[in-house]
Structures are given as structure tokens and as C-alpha cells.
Amino acid sequence: MSILKVRNLVKVIDSDLILQEINLSLQSSEILCLLGPSGCGKTTLLRMICGLETPDSGQILYDGKDITGIDPHRRNFGMMFQEFALFPHKNVYENVVFGLRVKNRADNDIRKRAEEVLELVGLTGMGQRNVNELSGGERQRVAMARSLAPQPRLLLLDEPMGSLDRVLRERLLRDVQAILKRIRITTIFVTHDHNEAFSVADRIAVVSAGRIEQVDSPVNLYKKPANRFVASFLGFQNMVEGVVQGNGGVETPLGIIPIKDPLPASGQNVTILIRPEAAHLMGSQDPAAADELVVMAQVKDVRFQGADYQLTARAENGESLVVNLPNDTLIPDPGQPVRLGLRVSAMSVIDR
């Protein structure tokens, strides 16, 4: 049963349509990611859900009740800001208990709860530290503890990793996900980084220009992006146009692709996404497998990326392909011809 529902939410700022008719629903203890480029409206959506901004029309329902007009301090939602927004004049402990103090909880309960959440985020015994002396990771944990302390009904995270460096980010991401799962809190997580979204979210809503393009599980989103925008936002580069044929294949400039996806009627134009992991290098004599498309191409550029090489090649008909090859592959030099096998299982039909 969905606990949070967003219905036809519209926001206009300076006659710009920031959000147009947003519909969204969230299951209890689900982690939903709002993923999109900066300026797409995802933060505005988050701020409206917690009440910091008012929608121009539409409704927000929590547990079946309309909360659209309720002040943020009466919603009992928790929010973590990008820069963490720790109170500089309070120490760690005082930051954490702020939400409990303003709700006039008993001193004993406050102390107990503070210890609980400090332990939860791994900051036991750091209560008396000055927040200005903390490292970025510690500040994030304090912010997490502070927003969790009053046991919010919904947790909102606005780019919580945004101001941290990469190595730290990956480690903290795992910790954050573990905590969220352990306490089974319903969460909305805003990010512009799809890797972050993939590793944390149960479901991802891709937002672009004030609209939700697709809502899906991370795996489905990756395997079947709904359209060109979602595909390119996830970093996919190979999209070829084709025409559906009568026998179930799609005719493209690269050749006929025997794709398994359900296809529109024959004669229709479709776009096919070829994910970078589709490719492997073939010897000139290797036979093509049944679920494979073989393409002759010329190497344009090779880049070493650690686990794999990124190879840019131009097919004989001029189509450009960017694919990943394992780092133990013997990579030909730029200018050399290659024979690439592309697995059909790593392709999908998308909208234009």
C-alpha cells in the first residue's frame, strides 16, 4: 500500500513551468531515488513534499490524508541537506537532540534516543565534539543522526553525497543504505548520479525538465530505459534507428538485429539501444552466434578505464559505436579494422 502519494503537482516560478503534473507514489519503507540533471526540478519536488515550498496546484497525500497545506514543522518529516546544515553554535549532541527538544520530549527519553541514533550512525561517544571540527563524513553522519532522531515518518535526502569526495562517497553510500534498510524508513533520495541511485534505490524516478520520464527498479531502468533522454542520462551512447521487419527483426544501418523485445507492427520506425557491455572482439574467422550481430568497424580511439577499455569504433556504414571491452583483451591500435560481436541480449527497443 502506498504511504505517500503525489498527485498532479504543478509549480510555476517566474512563469517557468518547474514541475508539470507530477504523479508519484511511495510504498512504506521503500527507498525512492529522484534522479535527474541539475535544474530538472527534483529538488523543488522534494522541497514541496516536505512543505518548504507550496505547489501551485496538485496534492500531496500522506497515509491517505492531504498534507499539502501543512507547515513543514508539523509534518514530522526528516530532511538532510546537501551541505548538511548543522547548527554551528551547537555541538554534536545538541544538534542531534534539537528535533527532540523542540517537541518537548522528556530529558530521559532525549538522552536515550540520542545515544541510539549516535550509535546507529557510528558516532558513539562523539556527542561533545564541536561540529566545526568534524570531517565531511562525520558531518554527514551527524546530519543523518539529527534527521533520524525524532523518528520521522519520511526521510528526505537532498544530494546527501554531493559535497563529499569520491572515495568517501562510495563508502558512506553503503553505510547510508544499510542504515535506511535496518530501520526500514521510507525515504526519498535526490541525486544526479545514476551510480548512487543504482546502489541505494528500490525504485528510481528519472526527472527531466519538470517531468517524470520513467519510474522503475534500478535493474529495469538500466536494461530498458524508456526513451532516448533516460538512456543518454544513464550514459548510454549507442542508439541506432531502424525499421521493424515482418519476421520479427529490425533492420538497421548495422544490419538486421534479431531483437527479442515485443515490437510494434512491421514497417514502424524504432530506436535500438546497444549497451556498451554488448560487445566482444571476434577473430576474422570466428562464426557469428545466433543471438549476435557482427559488425566490421575501424578503431577510432581507445581509452583505458581500469576494469575495461572503452573503444570507439566506426562501422563500415559510418555509425559510431562506443563499447567496453575487458582489460585482458588484446586491443588493436587506432586505425586498425576490428570485427565486433554485439550480443542482442544487451540491446533494447526504446522510444525516441
Binding site: C50, G51, L52, D71, P72, H73, R74, R75, N76, F77, G78, M79, F81, Q82, E83, A85, F87, P88, H89, F98, G99, R101, V102, K103, R146, S147, P150
Partner: protein, 524 residues
Amino acid sequence: MSFIPDGEWALGSLQKLFKSGYYARTLWFTFWQAAVSTLLTLVLALPGAYVFARYRFPGKKLLQAFATVPFVLPTVVVATSFQALLGPRGLINELLQAVFNLSEAPIQMNHSVLFVLLAHVFFNYTVILRMVGGFWARLDPSLTESARVLGASSVKVFFRVTLPLLKPAILASSLLVFIFCFSSFGVILILGGPRLATIEVEIYRQAVHLFNLPMAAALSLIQIVFILLMMWVYTTLQRKQVVTLQPVSGAHSQVPIRTAKDRSWVGGNVCLILLLVGTPLAALILRSFLTDTGLSLVYYRALFVNPVQSIFYVPPLEAVFYSCGFALVTLVFSVVIGILAAQFLSVSEGRISALFDPIFMLPLSTSAVTLGFGFIIALDRPPLNLRTSLLLVPLAHTLVAFPFVVRSVLPALRSIPQSLKESAALLGASPFRVWRSVELPIIGRSLIVGAVFAFTISLGEFGATVFVARPQTPTMPLAIYRFLGQPGALNYGQAMAMSSLLMLVTAVGFLMLEKLRIEGQGEF
């Protein structure tokens, strides 16, 4: 009022103002003395600014605080200090008379322009020192370094790179000094004697001595127009300065004293500050103890007794009492109004804030005498007749002082990130609770700075008080002015004694501020 002398519209007084040569001369004098004062201050203070921006040396902070003391002193005290040093009864004259056995004071500086100019330099030295020095210290040293690498000599670098970069700071600070000197009142009234008069002094004379209210009002108008104009230029310059500034921490660019050249630069300026600031203050204190029979507390003791049985006579001690009372009320009023105004400015949108910001600064930019004069002609009839109310003085003082609270609190308020308040709200804090638990503690320090400022301003306020205070309830500056106006060694000594007390209170208040003021916070 300037247009309606007898309840009818008339441009008469304004015409008279322009026709009569005397007023043109007053205007001209106001201008040129302000210009010369500014120039003198600039020449003396720029080397100091360089030294403060460039060098690290022991006692620097203390010296800087010391150099600022004159600026926060009541103008009456500044004037008495110079009387004590160089006046006809001043220390130097008495010393010279004693040594060379002269019957008359050899230095006849009293009522001369030079006297006034010196006092202005003393008063404003720190404005240039702090504003230009502070800006200079935060200039990115890589700018001049890259110019050096590109092959420019150090002289060339100064004129081609440093000076153009400093220009907004120099212009803004000079303009501020010019405004201060333009509207100088206490110094000129006391040191200038009957012949010298700025517009400000002339307003006072017209209104109080000659009771020519329309003329005073006309002069006030001119004064307001000029000062508003300059204030507008000043805020424009200041905004420019903020935009172009890419501050680096001053500590990086400062070097310790190493060569003989360094020593002479620093030493010379330290001596100048000690001489300029130290001697008048020392003279004042010394003069307050020095009687014909040597050092004694006679003048201080005299403050507590009533030797003349005049009905207008008010014991000096009561002036201290009234001053403190008024200052406390002013503090409360200023803090309340200041917080409200700052809060309003910090949340209002850019355009509204741009409109109201200068309006809240208006009392600061119109002169004190104009304010006081405005008070008595505006509030002397129903519906609001406060002319006889004790509240009139603190109200006038609040008008002068609350902009300082706003200036002090506003940057702190604006520095609070929106997300901090939003966090608090989402954690369940009501808007009032957010203000109390988040905003107030963060601005607390700045608020105390503003409050102490308001208190000391009220203590030393002279220009407006001269109009609105009733004879029975004088403040300390008024008492000092009265003492100076009466003959005899005892009156003179009492003026010195009370000035010393007033100096002590304001200096202590100010040094407290220096300790509280967070580096880089609070605007001038």
C-alpha cells in the same frame, strides 16, 4: 518648515540664504575644511594602512584598537582633549609659559582652523587606517606578485596594480571622512569659537541663539541634500568594493619586520599613531588632575557638589545619572528596532531590501543637529507632544544609534544559510522557535556589539541632545559643554574631569566590542 516661515509658503528664507554672502561663506567653509581635513587624514593614514596591511609585529592588534579610540569618543571629548593639549590653558602652553616665563600663551591655536583640522585628523585617522588597511591586507598577493614576475618594478606595481585596486576603498573611506567632517559639530562649536561655523553649527546658532527657525530649517535642507548625495555615492562605492573583492586571509600576505626599511616604516607609523592619538588623550587625563597646587582630585570632587545656588544648576553627578539612564533606554529601543529592521531586510526580496536599506540608514546620513532640530519642530504639538517628555532624548538617540545595530546584525543574519532555518523547521521547530534557537544565538555576538555601540553612542551624543535635552536633565556631553562655556579654572577642570570619565566609559565599552567583534564581521 523652511518653505513656511509663518504658516505660509515662501521661498524667502532660501533666497536670503543664497543672496547673503555670509551663508555662502559658511557653505564654502564647510566644504573646504572638510576637503582639507580629508586630504590631511589621507596623507597621514595611508602609510599606516600600508604598515598594517603588510607587516606582522607584536602589539599590532592593541595599537589598532588604540588608534580607533578617538573615533568612538564623543566629539565633545575630542574637542576637550585638544583644548587640554593645545588650548590657551593647555598643557603645552602652560609648560612653555613656565619654562620661558611668558605672560601669555605662546601657541594661539584656539579658534583657528588648524585646531579644527587637527582634531578632525585625530578623529578620522582610524577610518582610513581600517578601511584601506583591511582592504589592502585582503588583496590577493598573487596579483602584485604576478605583476612583478611580468617585469614591473615595485614602484610601478604600486601605481599600476595596487593603487587602482585600492581605489574603491580609498574613495569610500575618504568620502566617509569627508561626510563626517562636513557635518562636524561639536569639534567646531568648541574649538572653532564664534568665527568659524559649518552649516551644522550655523543651524544650531540660528535655531537656539537667534531663534530663526525658518533659516535653520533651510540650512538643514541643504545639509540633508548634500549628505544624502554623498551617502548615495558612498553606498554605491561600497557595493562595488564588495563585488570586486576576492578576499584572501590577511595572515598569508603579511611579513614580519626584517630590514631597516621595514623598521623605519613600522616605527615611523607607530610613533605617529602614539603622537596623534596618545598626546591629546594623555593631556586630557593629566589636565583633569592638574591644579595650581599640583596633582589632585579637586575637579573630580567638585563634580559632586553644588557651589552655585543657581536654579538652572544641575549637579554634575546628575548628568552622569541621566546619561546612563538615557543610554540604557536607548540600548533597549535600538536593539528592538534594530533586530526588527535587520530581520525585515534579511528576508525581504532584493528590490525591497535595496529600497529600505538606505531608508534605515537615513538617520545615520542626516546629521545629528538636523535630527535634533527636526525632533523639536515635529514633536512639539499635538497629536504627539513629547517636548517635555523624558523620552525625547532616548528617542532621538535611538534614531542615531539603531542603524549601527542594523549594520552589525544584518551581515550575521544574512550569513545564516537558508538550509539551517529549514532544517530546524523540518525538525519540528515553529518559526518563533527557529528564530530563538537558531538565528538569535548565531547573531548574538553581533547583537551585543550593536547594543554596546548604541550605548556608547547615546552616552556621547551631542548634536541632537543639544536641541532636545531639557535644562534640568542634561547629559554628560552637555555638562562638559556648559563647563567649557563658563570662566574659571574650576569649571575648566571639571570639564576635563568629566571628559575623562566619559572617555573612560566609551573606551572601555569600545575595547569590549573589539574583543567581541568576530574578524571580518560587521560593516563599518
